[in-house]
């Protein structure tokens, strides 16, 4: 029996899960106890094997290991942490940047840095989109067709009655309200000559 047990142990050491020993055929009490322990070891190794293979493939759901199998403890911990990281990754994917991974060494640092970077990038992107939308709304306003009086150059406010006097505003009032542009009033030479001929003469007359 000792040879049989040694043979089974050697196979286990080679990474092979062996068949259990039939205890019913063993009469010696000590040998029976030894065989029972070996069978338990085989069960534990089989369970660890069945647990770690799907885990290595990333199949995290529905894999379990019995509480008494202490060989499985580190793998259970690994399984738990992978489940936690999966949850964390899903949270980030759904736009939740408030979570952090604690006490998982270099992985925590890398993962938490990634969350911070993603959050900053998203904020930056949102700000840029906001700026672009504002700029776009201005462009649309200026690109539209403006109803303008052919004579006095007043512009009619969008959606108002063209027959009413207060529907029409000065062009500078209209543009100031619709855009960020501001007006600084001056006078061109042609208008100056027309409106203030004396004044124009005084400032253009050569000094003697």
């Amino acid at each position: 029996m000792i040879e049989k047990i040694a043979e089974q142990l050697a196979r286990l050491l080679q990474g092979k899960i062996t068949e259990k020993i039939d205890i019913g055929n063993i009469t010696d009490e000590r040998e029976q106890y030894l065989a029972k322990l070996l069978n338990q070891l085989i069960d534990f190794m089989q369970e660890v094997h069945d647990f770690i293979i799907p885990l290595s493939r990333g199949e995290l759901a529905e894999i379990k290991i019995s509480p008494k199998n202490f060989f499985g403890s580190p793998f259970k911990e690994l399984h738990s942490r992978l489940l936690h990281l999966t949850w964390q990754a899903n949270q980030v994917a759904n736009g939740d940047f408030s979570q952090r991974v604690d006490f998982m060494g270099e992985f925590s640092e890398a993962f938490n840095s990634m969350i911070v970077s993603l959050e900053n990038n998203e904020k930056l992107l949102k700000r840029k989109i906001d700026d672009l939308e504002k700029a776009l709304s201005h462009i649309k306003t200026l690109e539209g067709i403006l109803p303008i009086c052919a004579n006095c150059k007043k512009i009619r406010i969008d959606g108002t009655d063209s027959k009413k006097e207060d529907s029409w505003v000065q062009i500078e009032t209209y543009i100031s309200e619709k855009t960020e542009a501001k007006f600084s009033h001056s006078i061109c030479p042609e208008c100056m000559e027309k409106l203030y001929p004396d004044f124009k003469y005084r400032i253009t007359k050569p000094s003697t």
Partner: protein, 178 residues
């Protein structure tokens, strides 16, 4: 509060006293050993006086009361679920209660699977078949109840030892079965 006969709970956060004033030299922290000495000896005596089932029941109820008060006084209950979970993880870490890790969370149906590593109540205990975190079960339920206003049931579904002890809990609305 401490000596009167009654049949209802009366504990409020202020009953903890002014700890800063009360311990100007020794400070606010005590070793985990002291906490466990109190809890384990209390549990030991209660088992002999009341039996295991009644003792478990009392620990769950006490944990629930503590969890509610903890949440009401240590946490911001105005946050959304994501923010609340993040805050809970942070507060449990800062108060050295344990390292919270969410494995699954269904906010719609309010079911959660989570683990607590380096747990104040049981980390480092020799591996046994026993589930020992009844106080934690109540504590987690109490926190969820104070946050949601709904009744919760928390069950420790797994624990294992690997240097430290890590506990896995199933948290769901009271009366909700999987």
């Amino acid at each position: 509060m401490f000596n009167e006969e009654r049949n209802y709970n009366k504990f409020v956060w202020e009953d903890l006293g002014d700890l800063v004033k009360g311990r100007p030299n020794l400070g606010l922290d005590v070793p985990v050993m002291v906490y466990r000495l109190l809890q384990y000896t209390l549990r030991d005596v209660m088992i002999t006086e009341l039996g295991v089932s009644k003792t478990d029941d009392i620990f769950i109820k006490a944990g629930r009361l503590a969890g509610r008060q903890f949440c009401e006084n240590m946490m911001n209950r105005e946050l959304d679920f994501n923010g609340f979970v993040s805050q809970l993880q942070k507060v449990l870490r800062e108060q050295a209660i344990g390292i919270l890790r969410i494995e699954k969370a269904d906010f719609e149906n309010m079911t959660f699977t989570l683990t607590v590593a380096e747990d104040l109540d049981c980390s480092g205990l020799p591996p046994t078949d026993e589930v020992v975190c009844q106080y934690d079960e109540g504590f987690i339920s109490g926190i969820m109840e104070a946050y949601t206003g709904k009744s919760f049931c928390t069950k420790e579904i797994d624990c294992w030892a690997n240097g430290d002890r890590c506990c896995r809990f199933d948290v769901r609305l009271d009366g909700d079965t999987e």
